[in-house]
């Protein structure tokens, strides 16, 4: 039984954040620090003919202006090898093509998206740097922009990455069962096109980098608002040809990330480079307009699905061809693409499945993973399919869900294909029908249906929509933890994963506290810094609680053993000892105890300490945890909406969730992650979309155009829980970080269809703006009338 795991403890992070004493990158100020501003491309695709910096250089307070030719010794940013590796059995199964592609740190001969960096101004402060940036004259010769992925994939289309043969950067094909046979035997076949648009993750804190070259240690110090400081370290080491350990990267307080702060951006390479070159600290803090144009974007998938089903509602096959519009570079190979393919069928048994994907380059900002990373797109596809099948067969969508759902007794369930890590896709634990029942109870589904009928009679168009997902969480390869106990008995834990609001300092203290038998108050957790552990990964993909949580738990258990041995030595006993709140004693004589302080002192080296014969001095333990494969979390979401038919406005009235993330470490934090994820999902369902015009110009360059949901658009979510422990780590933890964001689009889209029924509309294209919905309603009304008159 755990004492702290499972408790809603107050967060250790809160005090500094509530008093304005946290430290974000923008808060750092160093002696003699300069500020940088980037000159960015106004064109989607153009040759750079000339760059004239003379007028800009003349401004007082400008320390330097740099273009590609000044930084030729930096290697370009290429796809991240850590994410490109595919195990041989997966390669055999899906025959992938992944073409090498890259981005120069500053554009050389041409620019390939609006917002790409072309030059950098370093000056006394941001105001002066902007004055100078305005005077940098770049002459461009526009090239044909490619904005539509279907155009870009055509033979003979202009090339975005000129060394490639075409713009199809990656491709794979995965299949199980026999779709063609299923199609031949089906009662019904339908074809649908289903689209999730391009989104921005929009953490409230934009990106930012501060760098300084420490001449004494010959160490490059970098602070970045990053999810993956180790990835920055290794990429910097590669691009600048430096040893890894001569670089120290800190992610201080990070104001949200959600994915795009996980990759490495060109700014994270060039700012440190210039700090070294100019021998002065340099700071760059992205402004919001830069963020909206230049920070990596995400989603942007279009699926063409063919589905077969039987009269009884059994879905027999899905064949999917989908394209991902990757923008000008694809840094993450098949990360989102294969996530999409292996998650599409979610909680359903669909034995015949075939998925083919092309990742296509276009003249847009590069596309990277964002909360859910390929899953929200396919959950939207799958649950739209469920809804469309149900409407076609004139039954409640719940019936179709039940009909096709994996049952509790089927666990562990084999989906017949591989996970990206090469393991068989086998769900470890869960009970999806039970989750559905709980969700039905939570919203009182039957009562809603009755009420709905009444309300519709009064002209109030209310509807309910459901979505579900099963998510592979806790992806490896590993995460580490180091625990150190000092002579005062205080515990310090060091972890390689880096938080952006998930409360790592709190939850990892809770886990370590249970492992060690101390109070979480006696534990300090240090994260976000490459010197705390030699190796680490980062926080993305719902993986930290599983990986780092397991690492610290295992490390704590190892430490506990050593502590017990020393305590036994001090207590001169060979009885079994217990540890509670830092006191160590034999159960038979609790009054005779030693404390962590005693043990800490005893562990000092040589004569200073008092250790059992042959034991090494000091209390230091490191553990790297490597999960066997991902572990499967699941959830059911239900949205209740009212639609204003005349205006196309949707009022999201209620939102309910049942979810399973295995062992819950801190329920308050888990609920917070779910609620926050749902808010982002609501954004993508109804409000958010990055829009480029036909020439590749960005139309959503401000927060007046890119609409983040406010407190008025996000209801308080009703929640119920399941706790099916993971079988893939000792604590039974599953990931929860992304989940909330995955299912809202389908739940809301389905609720809108339900509200408008019997009018037949298809909400297959996000976001469902009032304008779009009104158009669909009018089309549906017109075809309804046409039907009546015929």
């Amino acid at each position: 039984m755990h004492k702290y795991i499972g408790k809603s403890m107050h967060r250790k992070e809160d005090y500094r954040l509530l008093t304005g004493t946290g430290m974000f990158v923008g808060d750092i100020s160093l002696t003699n620090m300069a500020e940088a501003v980037f000159v960015r491309s106004p064109h989607a695709h153009a040759k750079i003919v000339d760059i004239n910096i003379e007028a800009a250089k003349a401004i007082e307070g400008v320390y330097g202006i740099f273009t590609a030719k000044d930084i030729e010794d930096i290697k370009p940013l290429t796809q991240f090898e850590s994410h490109c590796f595919l195990p041989p059995n997966l390669v055999e199964a899906i025959s992938p093509t992944i073409n090498f592609n890259y981005e120069d740190i500053l554009a050389k001969k041409k620019v390939t998206y609006v917002g790409q960096s072309v030059a950098i101004v370093v000056a006394k402060n941001r105001y002066i740097a902007e004055d100078a940036a305005d005077l940098v004259e770049v002459t461009y010769e526009p090239l044909q922009p490619l904005v539509d992925p279907y155009e870009a994939r055509k033979k003979g289309a202009p090339l975005i990455q000129e060394h490639l043969e075409n713009n199809i950067q990656s491709h794979f094909h995965v299949t199980t069962g026999n779709v063609e046979q299923a199609f031949a035997e089906a009662d019904y076949i339908m074809n649908e096109k289903i689209r999730t648009p391009r989104l921005g993750s929009n953490p409230l804190e934009t990106r930012g980098v501060v760098a300084k070259f420490d001449t004494r240690n010959q160490e490059l110090r970098v602070w970045s608002s990053s999810q993956m400081p180790y990835e920055i370290r290794s990429t910097l080491a590669h691009c600048l040809s430096l040893p890894d350990l001569s670089i120290r990267v800190t992610a201080p307080d990070v104001g949200g990330g959600f994915g795009p702060k996980g990759g490495v951006h060109p700014e994270e390479i060039v700012i440190p480079y210039l700090a070294k070159k100019l021998q002065r600290p340099i700071k760059w803090v992205e402004d919001r307009m830069e963020h909206l144009t230049s920070a990596r974007q995400s989603r942007d998938q279009i699926h063409d699905v063919k589905v077969s089903f039987k009269q009884d509602g059994t879905i027999t096959a899905i064949k999917d061809f989908f394209v991902i519009d990757s923008g000008a570079v694809n840094f993450f190979a098949l990360t989102c693409a294969y996530n999409s393919a292996y998650h599409l069928r979610g909680a359903y048994k669909i034995p015949n499945y075939d998925s083919e994907c092309e990742v296509i380059l276009t003249n847009k900002t590069p596309n990277v993973p964002f909360r859910g990373a390929g899953r929200p797109e396919v959950v939207f596809v799958m649950d739209r399919i469920i809804d469309i099948v149900a409407r076609k067969l004139k039954v409640d969508p719940i019936e179709i869900m039940k009909k096709n759902m994996i049952q509790a007794e089927d666990m562990p369930y084999d989906q017949g294909i591989l996970v990206k890590d090469g393991h068989q896709l086998i769900y470890d634990s869960g009970d999806y029908p039970d989750a559905l029942r709980k969700a039905v109870d939570l919203v009182d589904y039957d009562a809603f249906r009755k009420e709905q009928e009444e309300k519709k009679k009064e002209g109030k168009l209310v509807g309910i929509g459901i979505s579900s997902y099963v998510e592979g969480t806790g992806a490896g390869p590993y995460e580490g933890a180091h625990i150190s106990i000092d002579p005062s008995g205080h515990v310090t834990a060091y972890l390689g994963c880096t938080p952006q609001g998930q409360g790592h300092e709190t939850v990892f203290s809770q886990i370590a506290a249970d492992g060690l038998g101390v109070n979480p108050q006696n534990i300090t957790v240090r994260v976000g810094e490459t010197t705390v552990l030699p190796m680490g990964q980062g926080t993305y993909a719902s993986r930290s609680a599983v990986n780092a949580g397991s690492a610290i738990y295992e490390a704590a258990l190892k430490m506990r053993e050593k502590v017990l041995k020393i305590a036994a030595h001090l207590l001169k006993t060979d009885e079994d000892l217990v540890i509670d709140e830092g006191k160590i004693y034999a159960e038979t004589s609790p009054e005779k105890f030693v404390t962590y302080q005693d043990v800490g002192r005893a562990a000092l080296p040589a004569k200073l300490g008092n250790l059992p014969e042959g034991m090494e001095a000091s209390l230091e333990v490191t553990h790297y945890f490597a999960p066997p494969t991902v572990t499967f979390a699941a959830s059911i979401h239900m949205a209740q909406v009212e639609v204003d038919k005349e205006t196309g406005f949707v009022d999201l009235q209620k939102y309910s969730v049942v979810h399973d993330c295995g062992t819950v470490i801190n329920p308050m934090i888990v609920d917070g992650q779910v609620q926050g994820g749902i808010a982002q999902g609501i954004g993508s369902a109804l409000y958010e979309e990055i829009v480029y015009d036909q020439t590749g110009q960005l139309l959503t360059g401000t927060y007046m155009d890119y609409l983040l949901p406010t407190s008025m658009e996000v209801p308080t979510v009703a929640k119920a829980h399941q706790e099916f422990k993971s079988t893939r780590n000792r604590l039974g933890i599953k990931g929860v970080g992304e989940g909330g964001a995955i299912a809202p689009p389908a739940a809301i889209a389905n609720a809108i269809v339900d509200a408008l029924h019997p009018l037949e509309i298809k909400t297959n294209d996000l976001p469902i703006s009032p304008n779009k919905l009104r158009t669909w309603i009018k089309e549906a009304e017109a075809s309804f009338q046409a039907l009546q008159t015929n």
Binding site: D14, T19, E205, G677
Partner: protein, 157 residues
């Protein structure tokens, strides 16, 4: 550069500086006074991360020039905790209710709500939501912020 002299009261202290007139109030607070608790999220008035109190009223720090604050009284998030560092009831409610994740938006919410809770001792949920609708939070989904306001205004949650 023609600098102008301003003097104002910030968090109870008199401050005088010569500044460039184009300096935004947010940059003045953060870079001249090192009060980095006031955050900058958009610099075009939408996100609310920069919210401060100007003569007791919540305003966007990014939509004001520092010169325009000449003679004014300004309060920032750094003024909220007690002398001894004790969190005030609103801050306490935020930590009790887990109303912050990354915490970047938090100072803005706190300052908006400082004015709001003073003027509305007994708000409805709708009023609370409307009051914070000018502050964006990308992490929490707002529910726990609403809950904290209910706690601090002694309502059952």
């Amino acid at each position: 550069m023609d600098k102008v002299n301003i003097s104002l009261n910030v968090n109870g202290e008199k401050v005088e500086r010569d500044i460039e007139p184009r300096l935004l109030l947010t940059d003045f607070l953060r870079e001249e006074l090192f009060l980095t608790g006031t955050h900058v999220g958009c610099e075009h008035g939408v996100c609310g991360a920069c919210t401060i109190l100007l003569n007791g009223e919540a305003v966007r720090g990014c939509l004001m020039l520092a010169v325009q604050a000449d003679g004014a009284t300004i309060e920032t998030v750094e003024s909220l905790a007690g002398e001894d560092g004790q969190l005030n009831p609103l801050q306490q409610a935020f930590t009790d209710c887990h109303s912050l994740q990354c915490g970047f938006c938090t100072p803005g919410f706190l300052m908006t709500l400082t004015q709001f809770t003073k003027e509305n001792p007994n708000p409805t949920e709708e009023e609370i939501r409307e009051a914070i609708s000018g502050n964006l939070c990308r992490c929490t989904g707002y529910a726990n912020i609403v809950k904290a306001v209910k706690q601090v205004t002694h309502q059952t949650v």
